[in-house]
């Protein structure tokens, strides 16, 4: 399949990082960036390719986190199994929210609003329900064995997350090259025209939302294993809804590498802010917000679009077409 070579190259290069540096700071930084990239790739499938902008991807991230954590802590299940169930749980929540919203014909602002509201409902429920540990949160017991999805050092965590990320990149590429993907983009561009060509737009959106939710839930499940702690603000908080959307939009909406690029950029900005201003709460988000507005205003197709523009300027333009369109 075309387009797998760049993914393979990126995967190999990134996999080498732990051999070059053992610095925890570097690995930590990359883990956070990949986490956002993964969550953002989920958003990108639905928002970037399908044009359905969700403001509540926290609903899926949080479900992934909580299912992974709570099943281990309360029922003593194997961590890897819990992680898989977390992904399934996220997909289920996505299917339910998507089913309700798309069947009611919600789109545009209304879809953004209703996803936001669902995420908030889940956050409030999680902050009072006993099973989630309510306000205290849930702590996963330290158990540093690979069978328990916990590792002695950062490097294995890094590789596991990288593997998840690469799977999401390949999946996105497969979708791009499939009938499902063509239908998804078509309904983003013009829903009525897609319907007239035989596209069951409700079903395609629902499928995209389910896949999207599953990918973002995987990021959530990994978060639980990496930090071994979950509470409602982390799991279902607006921060992840915002970052999951920022990454693809900054990197290049509806592109395979957009979310990864964008995640690296926003995390770098976040770190720089910390270095310059210390641990000031809110400042990083002020910058994220400004970058979001600036990208929409000046680079609507994100970094990927900018790269394309630069490349277009460097290579000579194709010979002008001789055929003049009539009219």
């Amino acid at each position: 399949m075309k387009g797998l070579a760049p993914i393979a190259t990126v995967a190999v290069l990134l996999a080498l990082v732990p051999f070059i540096t053992a610095s925890n700071a570097v690995l930590n930084f990359l883990v956070m960036a990949f986490l956002i990239a993964l969550a953002g790739q989920g958003w990108n499938i639905l928002g970037g390719y399908g044009g359905q902008y969700s403001f509540g991807h926290a609903a899926f991230f949080g479900t992934g986190t909580y299912v992974t954590a709570v099943l281990q802590v309360r029922y003593g299940m194997n961590a890897w199994l819990c992680f898989a169930l977390g992904i399934a749980g996220g997909a289920l929540v996505g299917a339910v929210i998507g089913g309700l919203s798309f069947r009611s014909g919600l789109r545009g602002s209304y879809f953004a609003l209703v996803t936001l509201a669902f995420a908030e409902v889940l956050r409030i429920v999680a902050s009072v329900a006993p099973i989630t540990g309510a306000g205290v949160g849930t702590l996963i017991k330290l158990d540093l064995r690979p069978e328990a999805f916990q590792f002695q050092s950062r490097a294995p965590f890094y590789w596991v997350l990288l593997a998840l990320l690469v799977v999401s990149l390949i999946l996105t590429r497969i979708i791009e090259d499939s009938r499902f993907g063509a239908y998804l983009v078509a309904l983003r561009e013009n829903e009525d025209a897609a319907k007239a060509l035989g596209v069951d737009t409700t079903l395609v959106k629902l499928g995209a939302m389910t896949i999207s939710a599953a990918i973002t839930a995987a990021a959530g499940g990994f978060y639980a294993q990496y930090f071994l702690f979950v509470d409602a603000g982390i799991a279902y908080g607006p921060w992840i809804s915002v970052e999951a959307l920022l990454a693809p939009i900054i990197g290049g909406v509806g592109t395979v590498f957009g979310p990864l690029l964008g995640a690296l950029v926003i995390r770098t900005l976040g770190e720089l802010t910390k270095i310059v201003a210390g641990d000031a709460p809110g400042l990083d988000l002020v910058i994220y917000g400004s970058v979001l507005v600036a990208v929409v205003a000046f680079a609507p197709r994100g970094i990927a679009g900018l790269i394309e523009r630069v490349r277009g300027r460097l290579t000579p333009p194709a010979a002008p077409s001789l055929e003049r369109s009539h009219g």
């Binding site: 090259d177 499939s178 009938r179 063509a182 239908y183 983009v185 078509a186 561009e189 013009n190 009525d192 025209a193 897609a194 319907k195 007239a196 060509l197 035989g198 596209v199 069951d200 737009t201 077409s321 055929e323 369109s325 009539h326 009219g327």
Partner: protein
């Protein structure tokens, strides 16, 4: 005689108190070109929207291929072989011409490569061969009309509904387009079209229906329709029609 491929029976659509379509009936015979004409606001586009599933009729029934399809959603009708173009062209602007057409081809081809190949063939058939890699947003009006047509053809329809595909084209573009439409019909596709360009109606149509204020006021062969007094009245208003008849009498 066999049942027509499409049979619209006594269909009405009311928006509040407005009767956009009021008890209209028509039939499209297998393999023929049927044209609906009528003044602006007569309800033609509403009628098309009901046949293609974008609007549900308030009353009446629509039969296609001997099956009642009233109220079925558009995507299911497309799978039955009913294709349409839109009066206001609806391209997928960010996609290339080939990719636009491929969305239609995918109905019969699951694989991307097959759909793209089929799309190229369809594009060439309607005269878009040289522009397949252009973004749809870069096409001229005439190009966009052809793209509408190509996309609809790409689903491999048995019934094709064309909503003013000739509107906005200059006379030479119309002359280019007419044989394309005739060619489609010659391959056995049944065509039902809304058209204003009378020159094309006269040369293409086998049967003409005249819709005015939501009702079918006349039907028949194009030559008969052109001299029908009701039709002239519908277009030009009552006084003008009376005057014309008078002039005809005195002449």
């Amino acid at each position: 005689m066999a049942e027509p491929l499409l049979q619209v029976e006594n269909v009405s659509k009311h928006f509040g108190g407005l009767r956009a379509v009021d008890g209209a009936s028509l039939a499209a015979e297998q393999g023929r070109i049927t044209v609906v004409i009528g003044p602006n606001g007569a309800g033609k586009t509403t009628l098309f929207a009901m046949i293609t599933g974008f609007l549900r009729p308030t009353s009446g029934s629509i039969r296609y291929d001997s099956v009642d399809i009233t109220g079925e959603p558009p995507h299911r009708l497309a799978r039955r072989g009913i294709a349409r173009t839109f009066q206001i062209v609806q391209p997928f602007p960010a996609l290339t011409v080939r990719e636009n057409i491929a969305v239609g081809s995918h109905l019969r081809h699951a694989k991307r490569a097959d759909a793209l190949a089929a799309a190229s063939a369809t594009g060439e058939a309607v005269g878009l061969g040289g522009q397949l890699d252009k973004p749809a947003s870069a096409l001229t009006v005439a190009g966009r009309k052809r793209l509408e047509l190509a996309r609809a053809l790409a689903i491999g329809p048995r019934l094709l509904l064309l909503d003013e595909v000739l509107a906005g084209l200059n006379p030479s573009e119309v002359r280019d387009m007419v044989p394309v439409i005739r060619g489609i019909a010659a391959r056995g596709v049944t065509i039902l079209m809304i058209e204003h360009v009378m020159q094309a109606v006269m040369s293409l149509a086998e049967t003409v229906y005249v819709l005015s204020e939501g009702r079918i006021i006349a039907q028949g062969r194009p030559q008969a329709i052109a001299s029908d007094r009701l039709v002239v009245e519908a277009y030009l208003g009552r006084g003008a029609a009376a005057q014309m008849t008078e002039e005809a009498v005195h002449a």
